[in-house]
């Protein structure tokens, strides 16, 4: 049972991948560890419960990876997606450590599935968790608890007592009660602030009200805010977040992976006025899907509609909510409250601009429109075969980029440039150090695991001294 009056060596705020890797590694290094998870048990592990894979460097194919992924290639991929907004020393260190992570994480009970087809062709670079992120988390929790890590649920850290970069205690809300917990070191592993609509509104204004949050409601960023207010240096653009266009029928929080839609490239996307606003066929979908959240956020009332016809229905991953169907474009518009004439006009104009070509949805096919603004550069086919379909979409926020600055040892750095005395950070809360912008599938978990493990180890050493 958790004893809040005792002084733990390591106190961990958060209960996701980064937190559990830190907890296990600290405990294995001999420290007493308390994990404070704001969510109830079922929702433990914030965004981690929705993940599917992680990206680790490796020199040869394994039973779960189809080929080698050398450190240098990983680095180049990271450099490309972040457009240079990364800390090379930290990033290379992480990539190097990620190699060992493939072994270490399995030793903690996590299982990977054999690489199967159909999964975004990530089989070479990314290891897929057997049963997904919640299964992965369950394994980490079992291991941590087996090792003697104490875990408290419904335990939100609401205040921190920090004196000149020295962490003394945390205030934790347990139901309606507040307790002060003392510990030798702090590991902040409690994610970003993506679930905090109020905070998002500071940068996005009222449109943030219409954002859907893909993970749990518990990533409120409270600890991040406290740390920044108490002198920890910030990293990452506070106005930025990873956002994709997801089905507008998704719940406000925790819709997870299943609300995503992969059919933008196959049709046209119109706003509330039934007008197109961006080149749907600019590039292959994996390279473009993360811009559509922002694009939709920029439209009136933060809503848009993906319109396509029968020819395209079976060319993409099935969706959790059915596509809305109608025998004509006019009726389709009526079903989602768009102006029927306006949508008919937009489709007709688009169809007229489509150039002949050889359609191939598996690669850039140069099937384009001519004389249309914005144009559609690939996969442009006339929308003319009933039934017609539409998906309404809204911005779905995955995570935010603002975080705490850290060094190679996952130790927080203060605004004056000095290292913190006994505070560490891991996971999304410090992801901005290596991932200043953009995203490469599976990197979120790599950051959490690698820096979580480092933070736990370093915190244990720190607590001993």
């Amino acid at each position: 049972m958790t004893d809040f009056s005792r002084k733990y060596d390591v106190l961990i705020a958060g209960g996701g991948n980064a937190a559990l890797c830190a907890a296990i590694s600290a405990r294995r290094a001999g420290a007493s560890v308390l994990v404070l998870e704001a969510a109830p048990k079922f929702y433990r592990g914030g965004n981690t419960r929705h993940t599917r894979n992680m990206r680790c460097a490796h020199d040869s194919a394994t039973d779960t990876l189809t080929g080698p992924y050398p450190e240098e290639e990983f680095w180049n991929d990271l450099l490309r997606v972040t457009e240079g907004e990364t800390n090379e020393e930290l990033a290379r260190h992480m990539i190097h450590e990620s190699k060992e992570m493939l072994v270490w994480i399995r030793e903690q009970g996590v299982r990977f599935q054999p690489s199967l087809g159909g999964t975004l062709s990530l089989g070479r670079t990314n290891s897929f968790f057997l049963g997904g992120g919640r299964a992965m988390l369950n394994a980490l929790y079992l291991t941590a608890e087996g090792l003697g890590v104490d875990v408290a649920y419904d335990a939100e850290v609401v205040d921190l007592d920090i004196e000149h970069s020295f962490f003394k205690s945390a205030t934790v809300r347990l139901g309606t009660e507040h307790r002060t917990v003392h510990a030798g070191t702090l590991v902040a592993a409690c994610g970003g602030f993506e679930s905090n609509i109020g905070w998002l509104k500071e940068y996005w204004g009222p449109p943030a009200e219409n954002f859907l949050i893909r993970g749990t409601r518990y990533n409120q960023g409270g600890v991040l805010k406290l740390l920044l207010a108490k002198g920890v240096d910030r990293i990452g653009d506070p106005t930025q977040c990873h956002a994709v266009a997801i089905d507008a029928r998704a719940p406000k929080y925790d819709g997870g992976i299943i609300t995503r839609l992969d059919c933008v490239v196959l049709g046209i996307v119109v706003n509330e006025q039934a007008q197109r606003f961006y080149d749907e066929g600019e590039d292959v979908w994996p390279k473009r899907y993360a811009i559509w959240g922002r694009l939709v956020a920029g439209q009136p009332n933060q809503i848009a509609y993906i319109v396509f016809d029968a020819k395209s229905l079976k060319l993409f991953m099935p969706s959790c909510f059915p596509a809305i169907e109608a025998p004509s474009v006019r009726e389709l518009a009526g079903k989602v409250g768009l102006d029927p004439s306006a949508l008919e006009q937009t489709v007709a104009t688009f169809n007229a601009a489509v150039q002949p070509g050889h359609f191939d949805h598996t690669q850039l096919d140069n099937c384009r429109t001519e004389g249309l603004t914005p144009q559609k550069s690939n996969w442009a086919r006339r929308i003319d075969t009933p039934p017609y379909y539409v998906y309404p979409v809204r911005p779905g926020i995955t995570f935010t980029y603002l975080g705490t600055r850290v060094d190679k040892h996952a130790r927080m750095l203060m605004a004056d440039g000095k290292p913190a005395a006994n505070m560490f950070a891991a996971g999304e809360i410090m992801a901005g150090n290596v991932l200043g912008r953009g995203y490469a599938a599976g990197v979120g978990m790599t950051i959490g695991s690698v820096f979580g493990r480092i933070a736990g180890r370093e915190a244990a050493i720190n607590a001993r001294n």
Partner: protein, 368 residues
């Protein structure tokens, strides 16, 4: 659109899972689901029978209750599976036996046992409690040929009823004639005999909590192989009887007794272990209404074995005839209820595995 509420719910879940696919490495159900974009009743009955109820996808699922998506694949597929037994039962008029299966099986058992005991008493008269020894001791009251005929007919009936059910099932799930002989059946035999999909994709079967283990798999092996050994013992004894003119009872070291004893032990340990697991099982994983059917079947297997072993132990005492009547009564009830109880799960699951092997070979996908 769907025949039952459970099927409608299964459709909702499979549609949801198909847009997620995180469980694709866990068992055969999810890869089979991925070959489809929509789910008719036949598809759902197929998927439900492919499911081995390992429970893994419930604890793995980020959308299981209390999440509003309320995804509980093991529970819903269990209900669909149980309903499918009734839907494919032959003759259809007897499908009602599945509705209150525990009761039906108990009544048949009671009638059968009573019938044999009363019949034996009437036929044997004063000899009912006498000590019988030597070859043919089992057949003093009920001649071997009568016994063989009676049980042969009961078994034949069960086989016909099962085959008729399987035909309907096979047609419903879209089974074809492709490479049945050349691999799919053999693949299914391998998958079924190892219970390949009762292991959560290597993490083990979950039962009372999220910790996986192989206990249910081992108890199931004990039950299944115990049953097969007992079946083999009966076959060997029949061959002895008709081909070599050697009559039961056989000495303890002879093949029918050795096979029967080993099988009998499996049929005690297995069902007891499975029953215990069932009572410890997380209620969230189970469809509420099927416990009677599950328990009835396990108890029947257990009684078959216990009465058989008692017969072996007491065969040289005055209890021979009463024990024989009891044992025959239980076995007879087991035979005639085979097509109308949990026994069919093995048959339909095997057929589903054959179909799965077929589909894998055909390389079917849902994205064109």
């Amino acid at each position: 659109m769907h025949a039952t509420e459970a099927l409608a719910e299964a459709d909702r879940l499979m549609t949801l899972c198909n847009s997620c696919r995180y469980c694709e490495g866990v068992c055969a159900v999810f890869p089979a689901m991925e070959m489809r974009r929509s789910f008719g009743d036949g598809d759902l009955n197929y998927l439900a029978n492919l499911c081995h109820s390992c429970g893994a996808c419930y604890y793995d699922c980020q959308f299981s209750p209390p999440h509003e998506f309320n995804v509980n694949v093991p529970q819903v597929l269990e209900q669909v599976r149980a309903d499918s037994y009734a839907a494919y039962a032959w003759p259809g008029i007897l499908s009602g036996a599945f509705a209150r299966n525990g009761l039906v099986i108990s009544i048949v058992l009671a009638l059968s046992v009573a019938g044999f005991i009363l019949g034996f008493r009437a036929a044997a008269g004063a000899a009912f409690l006498s000590v019988e020894t030597g070859p043919g001791a089992f057949y003093r009251v009920m001649p071997h040929n009568t016994m063989a005929l009676l049980f042969g007919l009961a078994f034949l009936y069960a086989m016909v009823a099962l085959i008729m059910g399987v035909r309907k099932f096979w047609r419903d799930i879209g089974g074809t004639e492709d490479d049945l002989g050349s691999g799919s059946i053999w693949q299914a035999i391998k998958d079924a005999s190892r219970l390949r999909y009762l292991d959560g994709g290597s993490a083990g079967c979950v039962n009372e909590d999220e910790k996986g283990n192989d206990r249910r798999k081992h108890y199931h092996h004990a039950t299944f192989y115990g049953f097969m050994l007992c079946f083999a013992a009966t076959c060997v004894a029949t061959i002895y009887h008709y081909l070599f003119g050697r009559q039961a009872p056989y000495p303890w070291w002879d093949l029918p007794v050795v096979l029967g004893t080993l099988g009998g032990i499996g049929l005690i340990v297995g069902p007891v272990g499975l029953l215990a697991a069932k009572f410890r099982r997380d209620p969230d994983l189970m469809a509420r209404s099927n416990r009677g059917m599950d328990v009835a079947f396990l108890v029947m297997l257990f009684l078959t074995s216990v009465t058989g072993i008692l017969l072996l132990v007491l065969r040289a005492t005055p209890a021979l005839n009463p024990m024989l009547a009891l044992h025959l009564g239980v076995v007879f009830a087991l035979f005639v209820t085979m097509p109308y109880g949990k026994f069919v799960h093995g048959i339909y699951r095997f057929v589903a595995l054959v179909r799965y092997a077929q589909e894998i070979r055909s390389g079917k996908t849902s994205i064109e």
